[in-house]
């Protein structure tokens, strides 16, 4: 099986870059596709709470350098479709490529509240990147919406900038006990459970949100809201691969999934890196198993029988532009031939077609006619039986 790449990684976040580095480190030809820039969710983080790697951007730089050092090619293109193979075919914004193994590490889409005005207020109070936009809210109150590990992480990030951070949890928090302790230690952070955001307030810039809790509806005056709900995995990206309710992929034979894009993934940096490493190793193992390649006996093989009878007569000198029709003159045979000949004439852009007709359907072809056709033409379309 020939393919453009041994391994194609979709997404260059913590999981994707790690998978790519491990695979390239084993000598495989690896490409990692990223829509924007490397890092994925990492670039959102200034403080890494469960990792010794410094800030998010610092770790991104280190992971990227390590991957490129191992020989990974970073390609800035969006992968829109993956068709499992072999070889697997990837449709990207830069064209189609093939790979022997694919690792999907595309992460999750940005958070989304699904409320009127959300699109208009994006960048004007509605943000999904605490590290990018946090400083804009210095000295002002913000809200974070969500219940997962990322929600807590971003709330902690924002606590360094905002005067108050209200974490609006739609149900009960799902984040880890470690995160919970960190949040509890932050005086500026308040966690409100069973809280649903029902409306965005503000003209031109966000001024507040309407929140409904068990105690009723109330207005929360905030300058910024950071939604981490409504995030979806790359469900549907890979043909035939199942996804959970949030669009996160369930790996199956031949398709590796790593990081947040994987159904059931722990949403931590450590988990993403471990997932990426495992996927890279799995890619290496899959290709090592196939390195000897499967050898099969060709089921279509056969031998040409010895030609019987007279040897072939010397081929004519006619060229492929010399095409003729030969009709047996039965009713409609000539019309049928002319119809088919016309299609071939158009297909090969032939200037003209030769034509010959048997005098009668019931007699054998005139040998002279056969001689003429054989010498003059490269191809003759014959109507023999109606």
């Amino acid at each position: 099986m020939s393919a453009d790449w041994d391994v194609a990684v979709v997404g260059a976040g913590a999981a994707g870059l790690t998978a790519a580095r491990v695979a390239a480190g084993a000598g495989l030809r690896v490409v990692a596709y990223e829509r924007l820039g490397p890092g994925g969710q990492l670039v959102n983080l200034t403080t890494l709470h469960d990792h010794p790697g410094g800030t998010g951007p610092e770790l991104t730089a280190a992971l990227t350098a390590a991957a490129e050092g191992a020989g990974v090619r970073l390609a800035y293109a969006e992968v829109t479709r993956v068709q499992p193979g072999p070889p697997t075919r990837l449709t990207t914004s830069e064209g189609e490529v093939t790979a022997r193994v694919v690792v999907v590490a595309a992460g999750l889409s940005p958070g989304r509240l699904g409320l009127p005005g959300e699109a208009e207020l994006a960048g004007r109070g509605v943000s999904t990147c605490a590290a990018c936009d946090g400083p804009l809210f210095r000295g002002r109150p913000v809200a974070v919406v969500g219940d997962d590990e990322w929600t807590a992480t971003e709330a902690l990030e924002l606590a360094g900038h905002a005067t108050a951070v209200t974490v609006l949890v739609p149900g009960e928090p799902r984040w880890s006990a470690a995160r919970d302790r960190l949040l509890a230690a932050q005086q500026r952070v308040e966690v409100l459970t069973g809280a649903a955001v029902t409306a965005l307030r503000g003209e031109g810039a966000l001024s507040g949100v309407a929140v409904r809790t068990a105690d009723g509806e109330r207005e929360l005056a905030v300058a910024g809201v950071f939604p981490f709900v409504g995030r979806r995995g790359p469900g549907g990206l890979v043909e035939g691969l199942a996804a959970d309710a949030d669009g996160r992929l369930v790996p199956s034979a031949g398709v590796l999934v790593a990081g947040d894009a994987r159904a059931g993934a722990d949403q931590t940096l450590a988990a993403a890196e471990a997932d990426g490493r495992a996927a890279g190793e799995a890619a290496v193992a899959a290709l090592a198993a196939g390195a000897g390649s499967l050898r099969v006996v060709d089921p279509t093989h056969g031998v040409r029988p010895e030609p019987a009878g007279a040897g072939a007569v010397a081929a004519s000198t006619a060229a492929w532009t010399d095409v003729a029709l030969f009709t047996n003159s039965k009713p409609n045979a000539t019309e049928l031939l002319r119809g088919l000949g016309g299609r071939l004439q158009a297909h090969w852009a032939l200037p003209e077609l030769g034509f010959a007709a048997k005098e009668s359907a019931s007699v054998a072809a005139d040998p002279d006619q056969i001689d003429w056709l054989a010498q003059r033409f490269k191809m003759v379309l014959v109507a023999v039986g109606d």
Binding site: N332, A333, G339, M379, V380
Partner: protein
């Protein structure tokens, strides 16, 4: 079939009805002709029906022709 023996690419247009006959002849001559099989009959068809026969066989013809010529 004689034409093929002489190195001419000669697809035979044949209706299903006559296919066994043509095949029997081919066996007798020990050749394996290129066959474009069209539904029976051809005679007595309206121009529209005939156009349908052309339509039905044209794809095979062009493929066969390209293949013989060594083009994809």
């Amino acid at each position: 079939m004689e034409l093929e023996r002489r190195g001419v690419v000669a697809p035979l247009v044949v209706t299903e009805t006559f296919l066994p006959l043509v095949q029997a002849q081919a066996r007798a001559r020990r050749v394996d002709p290129r066959l474009l099989v069209v539904p029976h009959p051809v005679g007595g068809l309206t121009p529209d029906e005939l156009a349908g026969r052309v339509e039905g066989a044209a794809g095979d013809l062009l493929r066969m022709a390209d293949e013989a010529r060594g083009r994809p």
